[in-house]
Structure formats: structure tokens, C-alpha cells
């Protein structure tokens, strides 16, 4: 940077110490060349200050607020759907596992290997019709497989859509 020009800009911008300010003032008074340079810079500074700001389109604020509103509306809906799906899947698997557990416990022959301990201790297990239970298990397995295929299909579609963007 040219030293005198830098000092003159600092002087114009008011970034000088009082001592520097006095020194530059004296230099401007004494040196005609510096005075001319200072006047040109001052004039340029006045022109720069008069710079005008550009105006965006009339609908700018509306567009910004609309984009924010749309974004705000989209996020909670997405979150709500996700939570429901996750809860639904969770409940489904919990119920399935519990049902299978009950089925397994009730179908075990506890005395098969000579175990004489009465594990049920007076608790009477629910009577289950095994021919019906088999159908129920098959239905559960079938439903699980279908659900798995559906979710896998949705995942692949999502992946393909993301790749095509």
C-alpha cells in the first residue's frame, strides 16, 4: 500500500489517532501535491457514499415468509408420520413376540425328561387349540414377510428417487 494514500484514507475514515490527524492536516496544508490527492480521494469517497442499494422484487418478503411457512408446515407432519409408523411397528413386534412366547410356553411338555418340579405352581396356562394356533403363527409369519417386502420395496424406491435427483 502507498503509505501516504493509506494515511489519507485513514484520515478520511477517521481511523487516525489525534497525533496522526494533526500531522496529516499539517501535511495537507503544506504540500500542494498531497492536498490535490486528498481532494480527489475525498471526492471519490463522497461518490462511493452516494452508492444506491438495489431493490429486490416486490414479492420478495412474501416469498421468504411463504418458504418459511411451507418449511415449518412440512417438518412437523413428517415427524408425526414417522413416529406413528415407528410406534406401530414396535407394538406389532411386541405383540407378536409375546404371542409366540405364550405359545411356546404352553406347548412345552415340562415333564418330558422326568422333571418332577411343578413349574406352573398352580398357575393354569390358557388353553390353546393347537390347530388354530398353527394358522395364527402362519398368518403372523406371512404378515411379517409381506411387511418386510413392502418396507424393502419402499426403501429401494426411495433410494432410486434420491439417485435420479
Amino acid at each position: 500500500m502507498n503509505n501516504i494514500e493509506e494515511k489519507l484514507w485513514d484520515y478520511i475514515d477517521g481511523r487516525c489517532t489525534p497525533e496522526e490527524q494533526n500531522a496529516i492536516s499539517a501535511l495537507i496544508d503544506e504540500d500542494a501535491g498531497v492536498r490535490l490527492q486528498f481532494e480527489q480521494m475525498l471526492s471519490a469517497n463522497t461518490s462511493f457514499t452516494a452508492m444506491e442499494l438495489d431493490e429486490p422484487s416486490m414479492a420478495f418478503t412474501y416469498n421468504v415468509m411463504e418458504a418459511i411457512r411451507t418449511e415449518n408446515a412440512r417438518v412437523p407432519l413428517k415427524a408425526a408420520i414417522n413416529k406413528r409408523i415407528i410406534r406401530g411397528i414396535g407394538i406389532f413386534f411386541t405383540v407378536t413376540l409375546l404371542a409366540l412366547l405364550v405359545l411356546v410356553i404352553t406347548s412345552v411338555r415340562w415333564s418330558a425328561q422326568g422333571l418332577s418340579v411343578n413349574l406352573t405352581a398352580g398357575f393354569k396356562m390358557p388353553a390353546i387349540n393347537y390347530s388354530d394356533a398353527k394358522i395364527v403363527v402362519q398368518a403372523f409369519v406371512f404378515f411379517d414377510v409381506m411387511l418386510g417386502l413392502y418396507l424393502f420395496d419402499a426403501y429401494l424406491r426411495k433410494k432410486r428417487a434420491a439417485r435420479s435427483v
Partner: protein
Amino acid sequence: MQSKLSDAELIAQTLTGNQAAYADLVKRHQRFVFTLALRYAKVREDAEEIAQDSFIKAYRSLASFQGQSKFSTWLYSVVYTTAMTFLRKKRIATDSIDDEHNFVQIENQVSAYDVNTAESKSRSFYLQQAIGQLLPDDAAIITLFYKGEQSLEEIAQAMGMETNTVKVKLFRARQRLKEKLERNLKHEAKELI
């Protein structure tokens, strides 16, 4: 009509869920944000997109604004980052931005003006034209300094640079702007400057 509340008051209201308060903030700062975006994008449509994205990003991160700097300084740093991301996405090579000689002034920087009208020959027109011929960073620093009411330290913060770097850049930008203004005006420049 714009709100008389301060930026801090409007921010506080926005954070409580009052979107109208944020609309007031947008109205208050949109001209400057748009002008700053135009310094980088050069095309009005792109500049409007950058400005809009900047306000949306600012809204999303408003809670993280701690008020340690002016809201305008923080907002301009968002504009700067958004503009850089936008330009990167548009695959504008960095060297073409840095190389002043290769820099091409394209449409709309002065599109609001008609070169054949008397109005277009105003001081403002020539100044806008000269600013449009500067490097984006130079044009942004000049704009922030003269119209954004930002100190060198605040400009440095907004642009992620050292204060001294900004000082040197401002010095050079003023020289270049003066030269370009003189070149564009030829004889008229002598009356202007």
C-alpha cells in the same frame, strides 16, 4: 410500513413464534442483503435466490444468534456463506472469480437502467457500472463499508477474514473503483471525481 422495534426486539419476538416480526426484519434488511448477493451473483434472479436462501437460513439459526455482534453483521456472514455455496454449486471456477481480467460483467447488474436515457447517465449509474466491474469480494467490501455501516472488524467477521486483510482489500478496492469509474466516464469522470 416497517416496524420501529430494534433488531434485537424483533428477534426476541420471532423466537417466541411471531413470524410477522421476522417479516419486519426481512423488510428492513432485504435491500442490503439483495445488493450484497448481487455483488456475487451478478444476475438478479440468482441474487434473489441467494438473498432468499440467506433469510431462510438465518431464520433457522436465529436461536443460535447470541447478540454478541450486530444482527446485520451476523446476517451478512450468512449471505456471504450462502453466496459462496451458491457459486460453488453453479460450478463457477474459483480462478475465474479471482482473475479480474477474465471476469466478465454479465446481465442485469445495471439492468434497471437504460443506457440511452438521460437518467442512466447519472452519477449512480456510472458508479453501479464500475462496482459491477470489480471483483466480487472487492465489490462486497465496498458495499459493506459504505452502505452496510460495518466497521473493518465487522466486515472481517462477516467475511471470515483478518481485519488487516480487509483493510488492504478495501484500500485496493477503492483504488480500482476510482480507476474504473474514471475509465467508464472518460471526460465525465473529471466532473464527478
